[in-house]
């Protein structure tokens, strides 16, 4: 089977601030990493390969330096990486991003299962996974916490819902988005790191994936960011003083009405 993982390069921390004087994002010293949710998707793909055989391909769309996340995926056990990169992709929102990735997946062609992290830690939209499924007209199982069965042409996975957990059976190919609970990602092995260093990573442009230019980048993105700002900082309040039982009583006084109202 061919497992394809779609991953994204993101800033290592979400602790980004806007410099109030220059109104710019302060990115100094912030490294780029694989989106933390995608690491679970990579791990799950590698485990599936170990379970049923096949190969794992990691795909990312981004600037040339995003190649680094593909090497990390290879270090974890992916067999190949493909960088989707073109200036025409600049300004893509989730519509255009999922379209671009789906065009690359069409070129790959023989995928059995497409895996994504549940969302990216910078944008937090959770829209690209279902977007890819829709562009490719594939079924989807989102928020997967466990793959129960996988066989030729069929998968059963557990989806985490707000009020419980459901098992869903889907034909293959389909798109999964996975949550952290699904596994504990491995650290790259020495062999994996060697493979990652040596791997030749092809870059596919808009022309290579035969994409419709009108659906790429700015032109293909219905949404537009008009303003970016820092939310007002939350300030610390009152630290209650005194013996523990005094603090407890004081807190009751402070919160009693709110708690009664919240439970009404």
């Amino acid at each position: 089977m061919h497992f394809v993982v779609c991953i994204k390069q993101v800033p290592e921390t979400t602790d980004v601030k806007i410099n109030p004087e220059t109104n710019t994002l302060i990115r100094d010293g912030v490294a780029s990493v694989v989106n933390p949710f995608d690491v679970y998707a990579i791990e799950e793909a590698v485990r599936l390969k170990e379970r049923v055989g096949g190969k794992v391909t990691a795909v990312t769309m981004g600037p040339p330096q995003a190649e680094a996340v593909l090497r990390e995926a290879i270090a974890m056990g992916a067999d190949a990486g493909i960088l989707i990169s073109d200036r025409a992709f600049a300004g893509s929102d989730t519509w255009a991003t999922s379209y671009t990735l789906s065009a690359a997946l069409r070129k790959i062609g023989d995928y059995s299962l497409i895996l994504c992290g549940k969302q990216a830690s910078d944008g937090d939209t959770a829209q690209v996974g279902p977007g890819i499924a829709t562009h490719l007209n594939l079924p989807q199982i989102t928020y997967v916490r466990k793959i129960e069965e996988i066989a030729e042409g069929r998968i059963v996975a557990e989806r985490l819902l707000e009020n419980g957990c459901e098992s869903i059976e889907s034909p293959l190919p389909c798109v999964l988005t996975v949550v952290k609970e699904i596994n504990e990602p491995r650290l790259p092995s020495l062999k994996g790191k060697m493979a990652a260093r040596k791997a030749a990573i092809p870059t596919w442009t808009a022309a290579d994936i035969e994409a419709d230019r009108k659906k790429l980048g700015l032109d293909g993105s219905p949404t537009k960011v008009v303003k970016i700002f820092t939310p007002p900082a939350r300030e610390g309040g009152e630290v209650l003083q005194g013996e523990p039982h005094e603090c407890a009583r004081r807190l009751v006084e402070l919160l009693k009405e709110t708690i009664i109202a919240a439970n009404a």
């Binding site: 800033p11 979400t14 602790d15 980004v16 806007i18 710019t24 994002l25 933390p36 600037p63 200036r87 025409a88 600049a90 300004g91 519509w95 910078d122 939209t125 959770a126 829209q127 279902p130 977007g131 499924a133 829709t134 562009h135 079924p139 989807q140 989102t142 916490r145 989806r159 985490l160 707000e162 419980g164 957990c165 459901e166 098992s167 889907s170 952290k180 980048g217 700015l218 993105s221 219905p222 949404t223 960011v225 008009v226 820092t230 939310p231 610390g236 309040g237 009152e238 630290v239 523990p244 807190l251 009751v252 402070l254 919160l255 009693k256 708690i259 009664i260 109202a261 919240a262 439970n263």
Partner: protein
């Protein structure tokens, strides 16, 4: 010119105004000429507006034909229901949707999909809907991605709504991401603020990014409908008015639309009734400071007395003290309760990303320098294991339990 944005070298004077204006640090000076790093640029246009010399040009999308957009009317709310019970997020959306519809001079509509849910339509009208599109079919008894998406797509194509709102829930996010791609609509995730631009009548969608450290306002200028998912507990629930009148429009749907390639083979309800943290008004969360899994019982006891859901930090979940479904924070759930008790949680940035929008934050921690105190409304410096039983007994007395 294949680049989407470019600097005109004959007009740029090297004043660096654009460098300052760029929120993404994407512009650098090369000698006396500004250079835009397309890898960092998001085409937000801040530099174009800031340049006094008209030296930066950006590819403009052809504006949509106004008459095309004018055909799209009314504000729709996807009415999420489980087992025939309308979820509270729906009432929050109706509260917000009512304002938007009034500002647009349009009607508010709820879209209700389910099986034997006719009676729920009345509730949606009481909460502000002018009319309800009802699709009542056995195939829609519970959420399934494909039939739900197909029905919503069909309704949108037939009726052309201007705005479509859904909760940023597991179901909402899975559903509308499919719908938006199919109907070629813009979709903004996880909004915490919505408003109508008085001039353009565009929906201004404000949402947190980077775990809440940055806010962005997003529009969909040339596509309709304008679609958004909205975070739980941010908007105020619409108050029910039993006297309100409205129409229930029963929609006929072609059978083939209801087909699903996926099939639910089992469903296990989470035993703990308080686990739906997104809906909880009060959350009591425990972290590493609880020291061992058994001590979560002390926390649970307190949670029960104050009627709270039980949350946890990543540290407690990773130590297998409590299941992942309780995890609050960047890799867990984002919550917005009235009161959040952080017990033995130091307040790592990843945890704060999931709970810092709570109305009141109470922090109990032994370390007076723990970052959680920087955002706590009320703090108690002390051992959570010692404080929690005191709180349990004091609140039990005060609440008459």
């Amino acid at each position: 010119m294949s680049d989407p944005i470019w600097v005109l070298s004959d007009k740029c004077v090297g004043c660096k105004l654009c460098v300052k204006a760029c929120p993404f640090g994407a512009i650098e000076m090369e000698g006396r000429l500004a250079r835009i790093d397309l890898a960092k640029c998001t085409l937000c246009g801040a530099c174009v507006a800031a340049c006094r010399f008209e030296a930066i040009e950006m590819k403009q999308k052809a504006a949509a034909d106004a008459s095309d957009l004018a055909a799209y009317k009314d504000v729709w709310v996807f009415a999420e229901q489980t087992d025939g019970h309308v979820e509270s997020i729906t009432y929050e959306l109706l509260g917000e949707g009512r304002k938007l519809a009034d500002d647009l001079g349009m009607k508010l509509c709820a879209v209700l999909l389910g099986s034997q849910v006719q009676e729920q339509a009345r509730k949606l009208i009481e909460r502000g809907a002018d009319y309800v599109h009802l699709v009542d079919r056995p195939e829609l008894a519970y959420f399934q991605d494909e039939p739900y998406a197909a029905v919503l797509i069909d309704l949108i194509r037939r009726h052309k709504p201007n705005v479509v709102l859904s909760g940023a829930t597991t179901i909402g996010r899975s559903l509308v991401a499919r719908v938006a791609v199919s109907v070629n609509a813009g979709l903004t995730a996880d909004c915490t603020g919505l408003a109508i631009d008085p001039e353009t009548k565009n929906l201004l969608q404000t949402r947190p990014a980077f775990g809440g450290n940055i806010m962005a306002t997003i529009i969909t200028p040339n596509h309709r409908p304008q679609m958004a998912t909205v975070r739980h507990k941010v908007m105020k629930e619409a108050v029910a008015d039993p006297a309100r009148q409205g129409q229930v429009l029963v929609e006929a749907i072609a059978g083939q639309i209801l087909k699903s390639r996926t099939r639910r083979t089992a469903f296990v309800r989470e035993k703990e009734s308080t686990v739906n943290l997104a809906e909880a008004n009060i959350i009591v969360s425990g972290g590493r400071g609880l020291q061992k899994p058994e001590n979560f019982e002390i926390l649970r006891e307190f949670a029960e007395v104050v009627g709270a859901g039980v949350g946890a930090s990543r540290a407690a979940v990773d130590a297998n003290w409590i299941p992942y479904s309780h995890q609050v924070g960047q890799t867990g759930k984002t919550v917005c309760p009235k009161i959040y008790f952080a017990c033995g949680i130091s307040g790592q940035i990843q945890h704060l990303a999931g709970m810092s929008s709570a109305e009141i934050i109470v922090a109990i921690n032994r370390d007076p320098d723990a970052p959680i105190f920087n955002i706590a409304t009320y703090g108690i410096v002390g051992n959570a294991l010692e404080i929690l039983p005191l709180l349990t007994s004091e609140f039990r007395k005060a609440l008459g339990k």
